[in-house]
Symmetry: C2
Subunit: 357 residues, 2 copies
């Protein structure tokens, strides 16, 4: 069996601005002081399991990704433009199909998630591979720890022939708090963390049924990828349909019983904002922004603050849950509660700051 | 008549830290962007009225005071150590008594107050001088604009023979809010801004009655001040009693009917903190700390904030009434409400920040 990990390394988001920004999205950063960037940690976790590893990213970050992971051109797939997770993952799956055959198993793992229990992750991936070899598209589902409204959920059915793998009855959109609470209390729902494992051929054949033009387009590009026709074939990229893998394959296939899930508790986080980030820092109040130096920080009536210093000491007084991020070129002052609305702030930054997005 | 203004230029306080600090207290700073430092503005307001001007300050700031006001040594009285307002003002009054005689009128005006209506101030000083020439110790009283609990109050009695000058029935300590509200509503109470006007001889003779040793000590030093014996005479400074002029003279003399007050509305402020400072800034959200350069500031859900930038843009989100002060060597993040407690914060700053007090 051949197993190839796909790591989509896409946009920066805004909820960790200004630490994470277009020019250095969080997957390129050591967000938790672990000594490895998020994409490095993602690759590290997979190293023992994979026969090959392919990153799919944009032109802006391809060089830095290759540098951080010490990869050659064959392991970096550069999207001409972002068109959603389905074309990105689908193209790599089609390239794997060309290189290793359709029975090769691919697994897609986000570049910017955090997982603290690596053995649990690896066990889950092994189970997912076993389930994928029975012809399923497999999603790794996270046992929920709280009624989070920011994630989609997986409604789990009966166990499959592969122990630890369960049929997915359906995928559920991000719920309201009442529904989320009910899901978590039921004990039969998982968080959908967007990690998919499947045979390359199974994935592309499913896509060929649900979105035949997209599957054709991706397979056509992949056929030329390792030859002289790549650039010409990529000319068709911009005509591909924008889509995400959940909508394009997982949801319709789940209705047919074709999707399974492997539940796991592994200290997973998508580090979706400063509150989430703070939970993974040894000392949220004394972080150093990239390029800066450790500075004294004094908190008075400002417990539970998240502070990144750069080149000057910081004193915070009387703001519980303050978020103070000094990156040297810009200073953000907000609170954990308010930071959920950073997207609107970042999109409306005025001239003189907007180029720091 | 000879009128000599005394400007005590003492400590930094803590309520405007880190803008105002020991090394550059607020009187040496242009706090409002007026183009003049507070001590310069104080001297400017008095220029038309005075025959002479004497600053009393510590060794740390004597040079900078002389530079800012273009004064020679004769106009700077350096205290060997701070011992409260009574020894400071009393020493200068005694020097004036030596130089100009006891009938010369002295007036003491803080170096770090803000007054927006200079003509009203000057009229009040002229009235105070006239009242002082009748033998009174005169205090300039501020017509209250709100029930402030941070100031002492003056209980005003009947008008004296000098129009616009009223007998002080008594001085009242800083009140609670209920008392302050009652004072303001009564219409017969003024804020005590600590500005005193009196004949030098009257002031010192009063002191000689209430604190004879202190008066003797000050007059002994003053007798040698302009001769070769100054340094030797100053040896007695450290044995003088620490005291403030309100307790030492104003309160006991008021009980005898010896104090008058001139009520005035003149846009007075002691700039006692960031809330007070903000009221005197054209644009509190876009100030520049000394030595810094103007930077973009973006406020989102953070109206009424006070922001001093230094060398990087600042984004504040979701903190109404934020106070964000970047002085380049330290960053303070607080709120207008919390800033009232800055004293405790500054006194407990840890190593690495404490030297920035």
């Amino acid at each position: 069996m051949t197993f190839v990990a796909i790591i989509p390394a896409g946009g920066a988001g805004t909820r960790l601005w200004p630490l994470s920004r277009k020019s250095h999205p969080k997957f390129l950063l050591d967000m938790t002081g672990a000594g490895r960037t998020l994409i490095q940690a993602t690759a590290d976790r997979l190293a023992d399991l994979v026969d090959d590893l392919i990153i799919v990213t944009g032109t802006a970050h391809a060089h830095e990704v290759a540098r951080q992971l010490d990869l050659d051109d064959k392991s970096i797939v550069i999207e001409p433009s972002p068109r959603g997770t389905m074309p990105a993952i689908g193209l790599v799956a089609a390239i794997v199909e060309q290189r290793y055959g359709g029975d090769a198993v691919v697994g897609s793992f986000a570049a910017d998630h955090l997982i603290t229990d690596t053995p649990a992750f690896q066990d889950a991936v092994r189970t997912a591979i076993a389930s994928a070899e029975t012809g399923k598209v497999v999603t790794i589902g996270i046992t929920p720890t709280h009624p989070e409204t920011g994630f989609g959920y997986i409604d789990v059915g009966h166990e499959t022939d592969v122990a630890g793998s369960f049929v997915v009855d359906r995928f559920l959109e991000k719920p309201d708090l009442e529904s989320a609470t009910a899901y978590v209390e039921s004990g039969t729902f998982l968080w959908n963390a967007g990690m998919f494992v499947a045979r390359a051929g199974v994935l592309l054949d499913a896509l060929a049924r649900f979105k035949p033009e997209l599957a054709d387009g991706l397979r056509s590009i992949a056929a030329e990828w390792d030859g002289p026709g790549r650039d010409e074939a990529l000319g068709g990229w911009n005509e591909l349909e924008d889509s995400v893998i959940d909508r394009a394959i997982a949801e319709p296939l789940a209705e047919e019983g074709g999707v399974s899930t492997v539940p796991v508790s592994m200290g997973w986080s998508d580090i979706g904002g400063y509150t989430s980030l703070a939970e993974h820092l040894d000392d949220p109040a004394h972080q150093v922004a990239e390029g800066g130096s450790s500075q004294p920080v004094y908190l008075s009536g400002s417990d539970s603050s998240v502070v990144y210093s750069y080149d000057r000491p910081i004193v915070i007084h009387g703001i519980p849950d303050a978020v103070v991020i000094d990156t040297g070129d810009v200073l953000l002052v907000t609170t954990k509660d308010a930071a959920g609305g950073l997207g609107g702030v970042v999109s409306s930054l005025p001239e003189g700051i907007s180029d720091l997005r």
